[in-house]
Symmetry: C2
Subunit: 259 residues, 2 copies
């Protein structure tokens, strides 16, 4: 069994939360892979460098200078800071981008109808399973930054949720995989205003029911649909939880299963 755990910018941006999370992560038994998001440092550095952030329909455009900044920040500063911290916690961490050992090959997004620049969508069939397997069997805990590369040789800014899902799907060919998304809430809530109303488990049938009753929030629906796609693709379970709960059984979150 291998755990693929994704943390977002909200954890990366908060030194105290990150430190606590990394202690809990280091203490987890068994094989594990950490995928980290970007955080606000990249935006702050872009601003200081005088790079204008272009947005189209609420989405950031990754032009060449922005690509340089996110590669520096995600694959450089954040990745190495996390690796270094895990090493001091006794976890044999090794940091990677998707370019390293061609772990994650992406397709540069088409320039029309909207040109988002150097942004890539992972190609699941091209997942670097040999790279992953060799490194895991070698005793390393992989720490993956959301920068990938196309076969043509472009580095590409990539959504960290998708990176985590691609790794989970890829690894499911050779192992049982638990995919864990850490986010701001404790899990999928029955009542969006009550953090204690976490639904411990959701099956596809129950999900359909929740949607029909309008219980799942708009923002949560695509997240859950993606999670069920991963399960349909071979991932054993997907957990949605709060990063602060990693030391708890079931991470105090919502587990999605195909039964």
């Amino acid at each position: 069994m291998i755990k693929v755990i994704k943390i977002g910018g909200n954890v990366v941006d908060n030194p105290e939360k990150l430190s606590r999370f990394l202690s809990d992560f280091a203490a987890l038994e068994g094989d594990k892979i950490l995928v980290h998001g970007g955080g606000k440092i990249a935006t702050a550095i872009s601003k200081s460098l005088g790079i204008e952030t272009q947005m189209i329909d609420g989405r950031r455009v990754t032009d060449a200078p922005t690509l340089q900044v996110v590669t520096m920040v995600y694959a450089g500063w954040i990745n190495k800071s996390i690796v270094n911290r895990l090493q001091t916690l006794g976890c044999n961490a090794l940091g990677l981008s998707g370019a390293d050992g061609r772990l994650i090959v992406s397709q540069k997004r088409a320039a029309s109808p909207v040109d988002y620049g150097f942004v890539g969508d992972p190609i699941p069939e091209k997942f670097g399973i040999r790279t992953a397997q060799t490194l895991i069997e070698g005793g390393f805990t992989l720490v993956v930054a959301p920068i990938t590369a196309s076969e043509a040789g472009d580095l590409l800014n990539t959504n960290a949720d998708t990176v985590a899902q691609t790794i989970a799907l890829g690894m499911s060919a050779i192992d049982e995989v638990e995919l864990v998304y850490c986010f701001e809430k404790a899990g999928v809530l029955l009542d969006v205003n009550d953090e204690t109303s976490v639904l411990p488990e959701i099956t596809p049938a129950y999900f359909a029911e929740l949607k029909a009753q309008g219980i799942v929030s708009e923002g949560m629906i695509p997240k859950l649909e993606n999670a069920f796609k991963a399960i349909a693709g071979g991932v054993r379970s997907v957990v949605i939880c709060n990063a602060e709960m990693l030391s708890q059984p079931g991470y105090g979150g919502t587990t999605l299963r195909n039964k």
Copy 2:
């Protein structure tokens, strides 16, 4: 036999030189490790970010903001750009800092008499031989950025020449090692103004003679002394050459040997 090849900032800063060098590097037969220096991008980015470069006796002080910049630039942008380029050339590159898999553990330099900040000197006995061996046997060509980490958990800015030497010495415990320093000149020159006057081979005895005759330039003496230390420590040979000559036999440079 394994080659440990170091390129400096002069190659990293020049896209055309770098591209040519990487093609030649990718074409080299056998196991190889690339160590890259920093280049001027870090200085330019520091300046844009309004970070003042503090110098003491001609040496840069690595304060906390500067450490962040060099980690971003060296271990992020430069490292991933090189890895990605090598992958497109069919070379299975994997990028690392010294923190990854604890490849290179450093001692933070003492704060007195001069406090250079977050600067580290590698501890040869703590070289991550298992990490290196596992990755090389796994089929990866390592690309190493000159950022290392102390056991206490500080990321540290580190001289790339020293990183290359530490790797060469460490690897010599399990393999024959050729250490190659690429720099601006064709090699050690008999006449400093004549690029064709390369001395093809220097032994310790010949080096003593050259020094006595005042033939070796001031700047070259510590480089050669370090090289002979590496040889005394178990490295089979050290080559000093121009990065543009990597496809030539003996790299058209000067080979130092212990005989």
